[in-house]
């Protein structure tokens, strides 16, 4: 545990704004974060149909610079980071030598020799330490920039219009998983077309002292479009519906990317060796020949909600475990992600249920994601 996690919770630059909005706050990875402002279901539906505004300043930014920044990241991460073009971003992972996942990351290439790595709040210190250690021998600097940024996300179908009213940046030219420096509401920002909701949207990295000003400008610009402030509770149901993994749930140090069904993020064809390559090659073979448990979606036939840690059952036997579960506002039914034995992983497999506090409730096995937006 790092000192930041055991001490009193940290507050983002938007703390006073959240309190004035009457947010219910929650401790998340050592940060005091908004859980919801009103009804989390209304917030969820706003992001699916209009737009939502999130404070994500707890996310951990790490800057990597120098002539060998790309080489360092190719060595330290499983992706082909040197191949990412300036102005683009990549979803990737950092693994242990044994292939276990340390964190999932988004890496933005800001310049030829400058990258920003965004880690989960709960893993930011671990990622920082690993990158620092793995940087030995490389002509590159790893910088802790967690305090250098506030992060505000605007997500939902109305988000391009809302943002366009506040910036001259070429949003039409900004593709999914791209980022460019610009000015939003007079504030310098890295504008990224990324998110964790399954909707179109943007993430704006700004200096903490500009966070309140930007939040207020976005709130005002979004007034007529139905933009509402959104907490972490709906962020979780949004990402769950979109089938996106969450570290600590679908991803852990005990699992490789192949175990999590995300083997595609591991690039064996890159030039350099990388941490975990040997173990990951073996994991890839194992996953192809004799898959262990497989990550699937479950949709309830009843109304009781599966929660992380509940057993998945079939024929009276435990065949898996729920990793995330919630009532789905979009489907109107409880949904879950779970690791189940390969024999029961095919969509439509009959007789699968979840042990909900002693009762075996029937569940349908479905392919992920539960929700995909119409483009």
């Amino acid at each position: 545990m790092s000192s930041t996690e055991s001490a009193a919770p940290r507050h983002t630059a938007l703390d006073a704004v959240h309190r004035s909005l009457g947010a219910t706050m929650t401790d998340f990875a050592g940060w005091d974060m908004p859980l919801r402002y009103g009804s989390e279901r209304d917030e969820h539906n706003a992001v699916r149909t209009k737009a939502g505004l999130f404070d994500l300043s707890h996310m951990g930014e790490i800057t990597v610079t120098g002539p060998q920044a790309a080489a360092l990241l190719d060595h330290a991460l499983v992706g082909n980071i040197g191949a990412v073009k300036t102005g683009r971003a990549r979803y990737t992972m950092i693994c242990q030598a044994d292939g276990g996942i340390l964190d999932d990351l988004i890496v933005y290439r800001l310049a030829e020799t400058e990258y920003m790595v965004v880690a989960n709040a709960s893993n930011a210190q671990v990622v920082l330490d690993a990158l620092t250690e793995r940087a030995a021998g490389f002509d590159a600097e790893v910088r802790d920039d967690r305090d250098a940024y506030a992060l505000i996300a605007v997500q939902g179908p109305e988000s391009p219009g809302i943002l366009a009213s506040l910036t001259d940046a070429d949003l039409d030219g900004l593709k999914y998983y791209a980022g460019l420096p610009g000015t939003v509401a007079g504030v310098p920002a890295l504008i990224a077309r990324t998110g964790y909701t399954g909707e179109d949207g943007f993430e704006l990295f700004v200096k903490p002292e500009h966070a309140v000003e930007l939040w207020q400008a976005l709130t005002k610009a979004g007034e007529g479009a139905g933009l509402v402030p959104c907490g972490l509770s709906c962020r979780d149901t949004l990402r769950l519906e979109a089938g996106m993994p969450l570290y600590g749930h679908e991803l852990t140090a005990e699992l490789t990317p192949f175990d999590a069904g995300l083997g595609r993020v591991v690039k064996f064809d890159k030039e350099s060796d990388f941490v975990g390559r040997e173990a990951l090659a073996a994991a890839a073979e194992r996953a192809a020949d004799n898959p262990p448990r497989v990550l699937v979606g479950l949709v309830a036939e009843g109304r009781r909600v599966p929660r992380a840690g509940y057993d998945v059952v079939a024929g009276g036997e435990v065949i898996g475990k729920v990793t995330s579960g919630a009532p789905s506002p979009t489907l109107g039914k409880p949904i879950a992600m779970a690791y189940v034995d390969a024999a029961h992983a095919a969509p439509g497999t009959p007789g699968v249920g979840v042990d909900i506090r002693g009762t075996h409730e029937p569940y349908e096995v479905v392919a992920l994601p539960f929700y995909k937006r119409q483009k």
């Binding site: 859980l35 009804s39 989390e40 009781r304 909600v305 929660r307 919630a326």
Partner: protein, 125 residues
């Protein structure tokens, strides 16, 4: 948020109405509903079942968690709110009114139920 004066309250955040012909109504407080977030499923005791003060008699599922429902008194359940079973969001929108949960013929009442003012102080702490 204000807790109606005519009700009494348990430390498990249930409210209890004054009994009419020996039958009292039970629900959860606005404080509890706010803490739960959007309630999506309620499981209530069956009509005719005996509930015991301070013991679980059902459950409430919200987006984030599942919570036990405790009975504030001992007695026989005479009616459950089918409207709230069909639309659990009533617990959030009208916890003291349309979101009531069940009615119970009171056999025994614990001595430590709180007044509205006492509960307000209890739930603030």
């Amino acid at each position: 948020m204000s807790n109606p004066q005519q009700l009494r309250y348990s430390k498990e955040h249930e409210w209890l109405s004054a009994a009419e012909d020996g039958v009292a109504t039970v629900g959860i407080t606005e404080h509890a509903a706010n803490a739960l977030g959007d309630v999506v499923f309620v499981e209530l005791p069956q009509v005719g079942a005996t509930v015991t003060a301070g013991e679980t008699c059902g459950e409430l599922e919200s987006t984030k968690s599942v919570s036990d429902l405790y009975s504030p008194v001992t007695g026989e359940v005479t009616e459950v709110n089918e409207d709230v079973v069909a639309d659990p969001s009533l617990v959030n929108s009208a916890p003291f009114e349309g979101g009531w949960l069940f009615k119970v013929r009171v056999a025994e009442e614990p001595a430590d139920l709180l007044s509205a003012d006492e509960y307000t102080e209890f739930s603030a702490g």
